[in-house]
């Protein structure tokens, strides 16, 4: 099955949870009176469009409920298998910032990762990264503290003069 277009749209842990929930709703609707088509309208337009495109790409008939279910279950499984990339930022990122970070991750690590972004205002700027048991603090706070520590005597001398 081809899921690459959908998976490329899942950039954060939050988005992965949302899509998983929507997939669960679609799977549940397959065996109810409410038609699959009707249910598709209730989920986010971008997701529903992606799912329809993927189904077409994989040549899955809309009447074949079992095939749709298999497709959706596998899609959900693929989403669950995405690895989190933990990053701490000094502000709540906009979509463009998320895109840039995700792009960097995709370029440097490849596909199969989602961003697990946490806001921490104390770090001011830059980022702290926790990835596969390793941790790096390259925040602006750390840089300022380091700079002040290196120049402490000089600063104190200036203050006393």
């Amino acid at each position: 099955m081809i899921y690459s277009d959908i998976l490329r749209r899942v950039k954060t842990v939050h988005q992965a949870k949302e899509i998983s929930y929507e997939i669960d709703m679609l799977v549940a609707s397959l065996f109810k009176k409410e038609s699959f088509h009707e249910r598709l309208k209730t989920i986010r337009a971008l997701t529903s469009e992606d799912i329809i495109n993927a189904m077409l790409e994989n040549k899955i008939e809309i009447s074949n409920h079992q095939a749709i279910k298999n497709f959706l279950v596998e899609l959900r499984s693929k989403i669950h298998s995405l690895k989190p990339f933990k990053i701490y930022l000094g502000f709540q990122p906009l979509e463009t910032t998320i895109d840039k970070i995700f792009s960097w991750v995709s370029t440097n690590l490849g596909f199969g990762y989602v961003l697990d972004i946490e806001e921490d205002k104390t770090i001011i700027g830059g980022a702290m990264v926790a990835f596969e048991g390793r941790y790096k603090d390259h925040s602006l706070k750390k840089s300022i503290e380091r700079a002040f520590a290196n120049k402490k005597e000089e600063i104190v001398r200036v203050l006393n003069s």
């Binding site: 000094g90 440097n108 700027g125 702290m128 390793r134 602006l140 002040f148």
Partner: protein, 226 residues
Amino acid sequence: MTLEPIVFFDLVIGIFILSVALIFLVFSYSKTVQKIHSYRREDEHLKSQMHKKADEIIEEARQKANKILADAHFIEDKERLAFNENLHASSTNQIKDFEKVSQDFLKAYQNELDIIKGNTIQVLKNISKDIEKDTLFEIKDFKEILKKDTFASQKIVEEKIEDAYKRVEKEIENYKKERLQRVEENIYKTLQEVSKLVLGKTLSLQDHENLIIDALNQAKKENAIV
């Protein structure tokens, strides 16, 4: 039932013998009783005789005793009078002797007392002088010791005050240094915080994104992301 003649004669003879024996016994008893009565009468007579004789002896003894007692009283009165006279004379002499001895003794005692009194006054005067001398000497000695001790104490107190002053001076110096260091530290921290605040506020979105990408690249360089 009939008795044999020989048995009958035997019985008669037996009774006869017994009767004779009984008569003899009665006769003997009567004789003995008469003897006893005779002895009793004799005894009573002897007793009355004895009483009579005893009374006579006692009366005679009593009369003799009265006579002796009367004689004794007469002698006693005579001797008592002589004794009293002798006793009176002796007592008078004794009193006179005793008075004389007492006078002598009193005189001697008075003399002795005067001597002792004089000696005691002299001894007391000497003691008083000795005490005065010793006291003056001790006061002088005490003054010198006190003077020395006062100088020593003054020196110790001066040293202690000097030590305390130096210690306090050092403590003040340390406190000043500590306070100054704390002030410097606070200024330094404040400056740091202000820098963070200013930098954080002056960063644009582009700056933030660049810093994030720089951070990621740096982490990759340090092999935190592979």
